[in-house]
């Protein structure tokens, strides 16, 4: 292999993570394994968001010299399934390790049939190299719960490869024969043969920069769910390759407030024509909106029935559907804050409350009749508008156990329950 490829092998790492899990109604630890790639000499490691999440409490990185070094999470972006770690540089220095960084290649220039290699730790087998070709350079794949319940794939398309990608490969690089990183291996179809997917370097490069700088990728949100026009353009009497179908408008979103409606055809944004004929054209359009600063005024030109109208939409900050999580251990309940998206999906009246995501059998929460999926709305008649309200009530119970009144909602049905010692 090329010198570049050999150098690349030195920058591929395996990652062991211990993370908190709340689902069981208690605080538990789980461990998992993935891959990553060193992208700078000062210890920046790029990996998948589903390998290292914000719940991680201990991260250990095994370098190519088989030595282990501690690391911490710098930033996390489930939308593109990317996370960035930083190695404990003092430890690296103290132990005299030399770090070798990989370099990005140009994923835009990849062509179907081009040879690529996946490097990683499938099933714990360190520094495994598999070979394949680029099967597709522009695969559309969206999942509203794909990354541990978080959304993914709305803002990028994926590279598809037949290089074997197995569990544990996640976060490892997909490289060309000269050792340039063109993608980050992310997922495969279980039960299928050689259908692997990677985040293209063009996306990874931008997200890496943002995460290193800010720790987060801030995106704008307007609340339209775009749909591919496919061959509907004749029906809507549109010029060829123009427009994207507004499939759905989130209630209460900026787009809804501006007056957009499902069934509208979005023709242009701030005068720039949009083309959403095919599904794989949708993520770039979503990204165009998302990459504008929060509070931007976007001018949407929209075709509705026979007429064309202009709408001004003011963007909001994009939020994840998964809210903050916590375990109320004395009650045997784990909860997740109701997010704006969750409230909208479930047609809740407001954003107050916490969803029960786990119940320990036999604990006071279970005995009171609380079940997974219930929404806790009030505790001792105080609205749960932040997890702190619940945490405080739980702490008070922990200090001196006393009957606690909980208002819950299950399928729009409101119940009062007592948690008691």
């Amino acid at each position: 292999m090329s010198r570049g490829f050999n150098r690349l092998l030195e920058s591929v790492v395996s990652i062991n993570v211990r993370e908190l899990a709340f689902e069981s109604g208690a605080r538990r630890y789980t461990s998992s394994l993935g891959s990553g790639v060193l992208m700078s000499e000062d210890g920046i490691v790029l990996t998948n968001a589903h390998v290292v999440s914000r719940r991680a409490v201990e991260i250990n990185v095994t370098l190519s010299n088989l030595e282990r070094v501690g690391a911490r999470l710098v930033g996390w972006d489930h939308w593109t399934d990317l996370a960035v770690l930083r190695l404990d540089l003092e430890e690296v220095k103290r132990r005299g390790f030399k770090l070798s960084a990989a370099r990005f290649g140009e994923s835009e220039k990849l062509f179907p049939g081009q040879e690529v290699f996946a490097v990683g730790t499938p099933h714990g087998l360190t520094r495994t190299v598999t070979r394949g070709i680029v099967s597709n350079t522009n695969r559309y794949f969206e999942d509203t719960r794909g990354i541990g319940g978080y959304e993914t794939g709305m803002f990028n398309t994926w590279l598809q490869t037949d290089a074997a990608i197995n569990p544990g490969n996640s976060g490892g690089p997909l490289v060309t024969s000269d050792g340039k990183v063109v993608g980050i291996s992310s997922r495969g179809y279980l039960g299928a043969n050689n259908l692997g997917f990677a985040i293209p370097a063009s996306t990874a490069r931008v997200v890496l920069e943002r995460l290193v700088q800010d720790g987060v990728v801030v995106r704008s949100y307007v609340g339209i769910v775009p749909g591919a026009l496919q061959d509907l353009e004749n029906f809507y009497a549109l010029a060829l390759n123009t427009g994207v179908l507004v499939s759905s408008v989130d209630p209460g979103s900026p787009a809804a407030k501006a007056g957009l409606r499902p069934g509208d055809i979005l023709l242009s944004i701030d005068g720039a024509r949009v083309d959403g004929r095919f599904p794989e054209q949708l993520p770039p359009i979503q990204n165009l909106i998302a990459s504008r600063p929060i509070g931007s005024e976007l001018r949407f030109s929209v075709k509705r029935a026979a007429e064309t109208r202009e709408f001004t939409v003011v963007t909001e900050r994009l939020e994840s559907r998964v809210g903050e999580e916590w375990a109320l251990e004395k009650w045997g309940l784990s909860v997740r804050r109701v997010s704006r998206t969750y409230a909208r999906e479930n047609q809740l009246e407001g954003n107050d409350g916490a969803v029960v995501i786990g119940v320990q059998p036999g604990f006071p929460g279970d005995v009171a009749g609380i079940a997974r999926g219930d929404i806790l709305l009030k505790v001792n008649q105080q609205a749960i508008n932040a997890l702190d309200v619940l945490k405080q009530a739980h702490a008070a119970y922990e200090a001196s156990p006393a009957p606690t009144l909980i208002e819950t909602q299950r399928n729009r049905r409101v119940s009062l329950l007592i948690i008691k010692p």
Binding site: S247, P251, P262, Q347, V414, L417
Partner: protein, 467 residues
Amino acid sequence: MILILRLLRGAIPAALFGVSACAATPDLPALWSERVKCVVAVEYVTVTETERRPTVSMGTVVDAKGTIILQSVAIDPRAALWQLKEFKVYLPGEGDGKPAEYLGQDAFTGWHFVRAGDDTRTKLTPVTAFAGPTAPRKPVISEAVWGIGLRPKDEDFAPYILRSTVALVQAVPQLTAIAQQEVAAPGLPVFDAQGVLVGLAGPSGGQTFLQISRSGRPVPTMLINVEESSAFLVAGEVLPHVGRIPRDPSGRPLAWLGTYGLEPMDREVAKFLNLQAQSGAVVSEVLEGSPAETAGLKPRDIILALNGAPLPQLKPDRAVVAYLEREVERRIPGNKLALTVLRGTERVEVAVTLGDQPKLAREAERKFFDRLGFTAREPVYGDAVERRQRPGALAGVVAHFVKTGGPSATAGLRPDDWIREIDGTEVKDFAEATGRLGAIEGDKDRSEFVLLVARGSETAVLRVKLK
């Protein structure tokens, strides 16, 4: 004994015998041969867009006019009146059905009323004939009871006897007896050893079994016997209501309060709120434009008393909700209902004048478009409530039925989708929608049309190909 009974039957009204004639030495075969005349099988056909579906259920004769009551589950509540056809009554052991008339459903008991034709009614004996001379008989624990079951249609609904022992009598909220084993077919009467009516069998409760396979763990499985039941409403919950024959087959007038999601308040909560042994029900939502809203009832109010009387303590807790619902259902629109509610820490009196139930889905207009492969239905109040829409503005039409494999089903239309736009233009009302859909259906050159549908909190554009 049999001989005496036969002679008596010709001479005096049926109501006179029963306990008096049989008290000394009950002769079960004799009791049986008389009582089997108060049960029938009722068959009817539900006509849908694509099929005719026959249904059989068991009924009990309640008066000399040949009126028969069927359990509420006997008829699908979604079916419109005009879909229910060809009611027939079969006598036990007879393979030929005779025409009968559907009289409607009573809101309070849930019973459907059917009336047998002239030629049949003379062969029937009302169950009231076996009610006993005094107040309705209340079964007691450990007493022997028996009832009637009917074999399926291909066995000419041959009657057979079921015997059991009363194991438990409980108010849920109606006084219900649970027998040790199955004691009658659902909808058929239950008698004591003397042949006096003690109740009417309802749907059977489920029994949980463990299903054990060679691999894997035992899986709990609930089995429900649909042919025979071990639970029956006691006679005191049946006899006073057998005269509730609906004035109109539609079952109207129907009283309406307008609360959504009544939830029982358990004992612990009552104690916490210093209500001690008080029973109550939490109001989850108060529906827009409803009598409850007009009267000033608020979401999260806890109903404690009705017309000044505290709600009864019932077990399980849920039974208090059924109790409240029945208190509404037994009344008619215009009746007044005084509710005492706890709002925060305050007791508030709410005087509700019950309204008329808004149009139900089964009463809504609908039209089937065969070539398009779906039925459009006028949206009703309940559609809006279910979808958290404002019930004031009911534009569009609801997909009531979607033909499997039809063009609309292929395009992704599902039952209960709310059609907002047809071919990019908003749908105003049912008449306009059916006009436009009819035009599309009639236009043989049309190769496609587009629907905008709302489903939950999402909408979708569906493209329906007709060729």
